[in-house]
């Protein structure tokens, strides 16, 4: 659906990282963790494409949140929004994380901004009393986003930072194998940069754990019509926007 959503709250939660809560009851009611929204940034004709953002939270039934990093024109525009501003949003789009097989233990793996869709998921899992463990990585302590939320929502957090300011000094993929050995998850839900996800998929296969990954790709329509945002899978190109953004990691041609 396409809605006009009013900004209810906006916070800069870390340097250049913002969280915005929009009043969007129709989207909030049907949103599933892993789905995304496609946001019109700017009023002028010179923004040709909407910008996609994971739904970071949609549990209040009338609002949704996004968590994003300022990286270019569209996100700079979003970062300047004020409470009461109105924004054109399409969503919820895509397929979220699949919980069909009712896994016993779940491991969330979040690299950098990859935490964005996983908070919504963690919240849902906590409500269902699923045992959830988190492995999180970022450049530094400040960018280990939503740490307190995760502490509340999941049983255990293992962290890595590139500068060693919190947790282990290194990459998330350095600490993942040990976390798997220790916590024995039935399934991994991962989001982060493509190179990280490739490594996570590889580790998951080696450790024989199911793994779902939320992918990003340059998008135009966001609804499955234009075939811009494809990813190579074992059965040919699939659309990240409409067939994903969450895929079984074994399906992807890494």
């Amino acid at each position: 659906m396409q809605v006009k959503a009013t900004v209810l709250q906006k916070d800069e939660v870390a340097p250049q990282v913002h969280k915005i809560r929009f009043f969007a009851p129709r989207i909030a009611k049907s949103a599933q963790p892993g789905q995304f929204v496609h946001i019109k940034c700017g009023e002028e004709q010179n923004y040709i494409l909407r910008r996609p953002f994971s739904i970071h939270q949609a549990n209040s039934s009338d609002s949704i949140e996004i968590l994003f990093k300022v990286v270019g024109r569209g996100t700079s525009w979003l970062a300047k929004l004020k409470v009461k501003d109105s924004v054109d949003i399409i969503g919820p789009l895509g397929n979220g994380f699949s919980l069909k097989s009712r896994p016993g233990k779940i491991m969330l793996v979040a690299g950098g901004m990859g935490i964005a869709p996983l908070i919504f998921l963690a919240d849902k899992l906590a409500k269902e009393h699923t045992k959830t463990y988190t492995v999180i990585g970022a450049a530094n302590k400040e960018l280990l986003l939503d740490y307190m939320n995760l502490k509340r929502l999941t049983r255990k957090i293992t962290a890595a930072t590139e500068d060693g300011s919190q947790g282990v000094k290194g990459l998330i993929t350095d600490i993942l194998p040990a976390a798997i050995t220790e916590d024995h998850p039935d399934v991994i839900f991962a989001c982060g940069p493509f190179s990280m996800l490739r490594e996570v998929a590889f580790i998951a296969r080696r450790e024989d754990v199911d793994c779902q990954v939320a992918l990003e790709e340059l998008m135009a329509c966001g609804v499955g019509a234009c075939l811009a945002c494809v990813v190579k899978t074992k059965t040919g190109f699939k659309r990240v926007c409409a067939d994903g953004p969450v895929f079984d990691s074994r399906e992807i041609e890494w």
């Binding site: 004709q45 340059l218 329509c221 075939l227 811009a228 190109f237």
Partner: protein, 307 residues
């Protein structure tokens, strides 16, 4: 006061209004049906179909550019058979002329897809996408050369009795010569323009932003080019022109209509606003009412040029 008549006739098919969705930006309609009432559109042009399935190009396939975007999707589609089995029957529920865009690598492939599409239900017209590279001629686009374009269209004409629209590429020296050649070969309407060749570079990685290096530019950035071509071609031929290129508002559409377009197609604009075709229809109607015209045909080609 009665409402103005927006109906137009293109290549012998009746459209309830002159606003069409362009090929490749609207899929086969399904994805947009939740956003707009497809019954309100003048017509829908499908993503280009080839006889055999095509997997398309590697990513990145798109890149946003000032007032536009580049794409090189590479004609990804599931082939004519899958289209006829899965998409055409679904489209049949709407009161909507379906124009099937067809492509190929050589004349034989164009003829095969033409014949196949011509014997299935639910097709109102064919739009021949002649921007495809002709692999038998070193990959030069069919649309680049009047002779090659005319030969292709003449051959397709013999394969089908469906109304025939030919979509031209703007990446040519003399667009009028090509339009005249394909009309002589049997085109009953001309769509123009397809995307303008372009490229973009990421200076940090020193790489082209599109994996295939070069792609097609679309969006408001190409509107003046498209408008100029539509004006030149509409004057020179006596079949209708479907104006395409950067149309995002009723005012844009009206510019094309005044310049001689009998209908318009909306492409890239639906990405930003799926409602844009509907807003354009409503805006055209408003313009006619405000200026006291009873019908759209009163303003087609009504451009006034001072002596």
């Amino acid at each position: 006061m009665s409402r103005p008549d927006l109906a137009v006739e293109i290549a012998g098919i009746k459209l309830k209004n002159p606003v069409i969705t362009a090929s490749g930006t609207f899929g086969y309609g399904r994805e947009y049906a939740e956003f707009i009432d497809l019954n309100r559109l003048g017509a829908l042009v499908t993503k280009t179909i080839t006889f055999q399935p095509r997997s398309g190009n590697p990513v990145p396939r798109i890149c946003e550019t000032p007032s536009g975007m580049l794409n090189s999707i590479g004609l990804q589609n599931n082939g004519a058979e899958a289209f006829a089995a899965n998409d055409l029957p679904w489209l049949a529920q709407f009161d909507l002329p379906v124009i099937v865009s067809i492509g190929g690598d050589d004349i034989d492939q164009y003829c095969r897809v033409t014949k196949f599409i011509s014997q299935v239900e639910g097709v109102s017209a064919l739009e021949v996408n002649i921007s495809c590279p002709n692999v038998k001629f070193g990959g030069l686009g069919f649309g680049r050369d009047p002779r090659m374009a005319a030969d292709l269209v003449a051959k397709i004409r013999t394969c089908s009795t469906l109304p025939l629209i030919v979509k031209l590429s703007p990446n040519v020296g003399d667009i009028v010569a090509i339009a005249q050649a394909v009309v002589r070969a049997g085109a009953q309407a001309i769509s123009l323009i397809n995307t303008v060749l372009g490229m973009a570079v990421d200076i940090e990685s020193k790489r082209p932003r599109l994996k295939s290096v070069v792609g097609g530019l679309s969006g408001p950035a190409i509107k003046p080019i498209a408008l100029r071509m539509v004006w030149e071609v509409a004057k020179a031929i006596d079949v209708p022109v479907i104006g395409i290129g950067g149309i995002a508002s009723a005012a844009d559409a009206l510019e094309f209509i005044l310049a001689g377009a009998g209908a318009v197609a909306v492409g890239t604009a639906v990405f930003m606003d799926p409602q844009s075709p509907i807003k354009i229809i409503e805006g055209i109607e408003e313009y006619l009412t405000k200026n006291g015209y009873d019908k759209i045909s009163d303003i087609v080609g009504a451009l006034e040029i001072a002596e």
